[in-house]
Symmetry: C2
Subunit: 343 residues, 2 copies
DNA sequence: CTGAAAGCGCTTACAG
DNA sequence: CTGAAAGCGCTTACAG
């Protein structure tokens, strides 16, 4: 049987502070906010009272005046996924520095749920919105909203929106350049689900570099499959079977690379001596525990999240940020590609 | 050079709606809120105006009246960790059903940062707080706050606080019972960092069951190490070296179990025929990609988060929830323990 | 059924 | 240097 609501431990109000300090509400406000026109002694009395009452100004009341809520909405589409979290962390971090709080919603890839959360957030008068996609492919625009929106990780299809994404083509290039620097010349490309733009982009970046340098891609067409260890094991089997002289395998993800490493080891190939292997995503738990540790590409998602927040703050301040922005990934070399061999 | 702030696309206000509908603000409010004392035709006019102006009531103004913000604060300590995320998802989900929004902060295990975020959240007049720890060991209490607090995953050391945790002893029991049901009699316990209470709790649960049943624990003392694949590989080597007749290995985490599986496979043991292996945490990406797929224990963290939110709502409504609450984990059997063998 | 008034907790011109 | 008053956008008794 529910009891009647617990005695509300009413928070002290500015009026309480003013009364205790023996001044008007207006003066208490000015004292607390460091306005210059207050006698030092009065200010001290007000602070003392505020302290004693554990006064904490009601942000809702303050914001009603300013017209800004000091909050941003973060709508994510795969809270359980490993890609949105670092992005979210970066945004939260950037927001915290600007004394902005983050309202988090998980829309789970569902457009209806997204609309619902959007309404709730707009009702709370968020100053802006960051929408984090589940995968890097473009998504439909939310259209014109009363506050600025930044699309992070998954860009909006509408170029008039502000989007920020990871540069997967550059990621592919990085890894290919590294393979060449390690002296590899017969390189296989094993990647994931061809439905993902990221799979194609990473392959495109790698091919561009390999072709330009005249390195051989074996087999000549990249192998698409799924983003799994299982596929990595299978694909590696195919590659070494058809092209026993392969000396490098560029994988579209760390999971795939883990599978590739397993098959190579079990077939007696030495990594990196016989075959160098690279992953993608720099998922530490997979990359660092691999045997040998896995060279990978880090998308710098936390940086992406941070920049998304910066773009949003800029837009909130009226500075224009329209269009696509890009975060360049970085290579994280580890033992699976061995020490660099010049030339 | 920053331009002057973008022309504020001022949101429509209730006054705007009232004016357009040709009624007073009070009547507009009543119409929109479904109060009975409004003529149907008037109500229609008001709704029409609201629609046309895309009116969305300012929650800050509404909340100022009610004294409730309709938000809860979620303070997490390892946003990048895999444990807080499901908890957070469950809480967000439960909150959403109650039309409550979630303010997210990441304190990163830092008490100072936690204090800072706490102040910000209290300033925003959150109706309550959920504090999610980074690991299951007890943490210090935040003391008396003006709103209810629920400690999730990591309990408060103060029994007067409300805490909800996963039952690691039960998890250990589950897995041991399963081993016995699979006909295993000489079982090794390989777990992680002894600094973690969870390591001991899981071992204690398993031992309790194994001892009761008279199964042999080999070696007689559990092997503590780190929560890594590397340690799993090493530990498995020790175990099969000293106890070649081992027929089951209970691991303290899925990572450890992955390492154990690797060593077993490479030493020629068949899993589960020769040795059954279990993990813990049911980290799908590891468990499902293992060879064979890994039997594990799911802590039901999403459920934990959901219950944390329910406890918080109860406390906000004045129903008492003090003390420790527990979520019972569940076994997820997969191929690494093989089909059940009765007896 | 409708509206004028008070008030939620604050800040900010504007007078003294 | 201090305070009375207006107002942010809403809701809710209270009169008409």
């Amino acid at each position: 049987m529910p009891r009647k609501p617990e005695q509300k431990r009413k928070q002290a109000t500015l009026a309480d502070v003013a009364q205790m300090a023996g001044v008007s509400i207006a003066t208490a406000s000015k004292a607390l906010n460091g306005r210059s026109q207050v006698k030092a002694e009065t200010r001290a009395r007000v602070f003392e009272a505020a302290e004693k009452l554990k006064f904490s100004p009601n942000a809702m009341a303050q914001n009603l005046l300013t017209g800004r809520s000091g909050t941003i909405g973060l709508v994510t589409h795969d809270l359980d996924g490993r890609f949105s979290i670092p992005t979210l962390m970066g945004a939260e971090d950037a927001a915290g520095h600007g004394r902005t709080s983050v309202l988090l919603c998980d829309a789970r890839g569902d457009a209806l749920r997204e609309r619902y959360h959007l309404q709730a957030l707009l009702g709370r008068r968020v100053d802006g919105l960051i929408v984090v996609g589940a995968r890097p492919d473009p998504r439909s625009s939310l259209g014109t909203l009363p506050v600025p929106v930044v699309y992070a990780y998954a860009p909006s299809t509408d170029p008039r929106d502000t989007s920020i994404v990871t540069d997967n083509v550059a990621g592919g290039r990085l890894v290919a350049e590294h393979m060449l620097a390690c002296g590899r010349r017969r390189i296989a490309l094993v990647t994931g689900d061809p439905e993902y733009g990221a799979a194609h982009d990473r392959v495109a970046g790698a091919r561009e570099v390999l072709d330009r340098d005249g390195a051989e891609v074996v087999p000549s067409e990249p192998l698409y499959g799924t983003w799994s260890e299982e596929w990595g094991r299978t694909a590696a089997g195919l590659v070494i079977n058809q092209h026993p002289d392969v000396d490098g395998i560029i994988c579209g993800s760390d999971q795939i690379a883990r599978g590739v490493l397993d098959t190579l080891r079990e077939s007696g190939r030495k990594v990196p001596d016989d075959v160098a292997v690279t992953g993608h995503d720099n998922w530490e738990i997979l990359a660092v525990n691999a045997r040998p540790q896995l060279t990978s590409v880090d998308m710098r998602l936390e940086e992406l999240g941070r920049q998304a927040a910066e773009l949003l703050f800029a837009a909130i301040d009226g500075r224009t940020t329209k269009g696509g922005h890009v975060v360049t990934p970085r290579l994280v070399p580890r033992a699976s590609t061995g020490p660099r061999v010049s030339g």
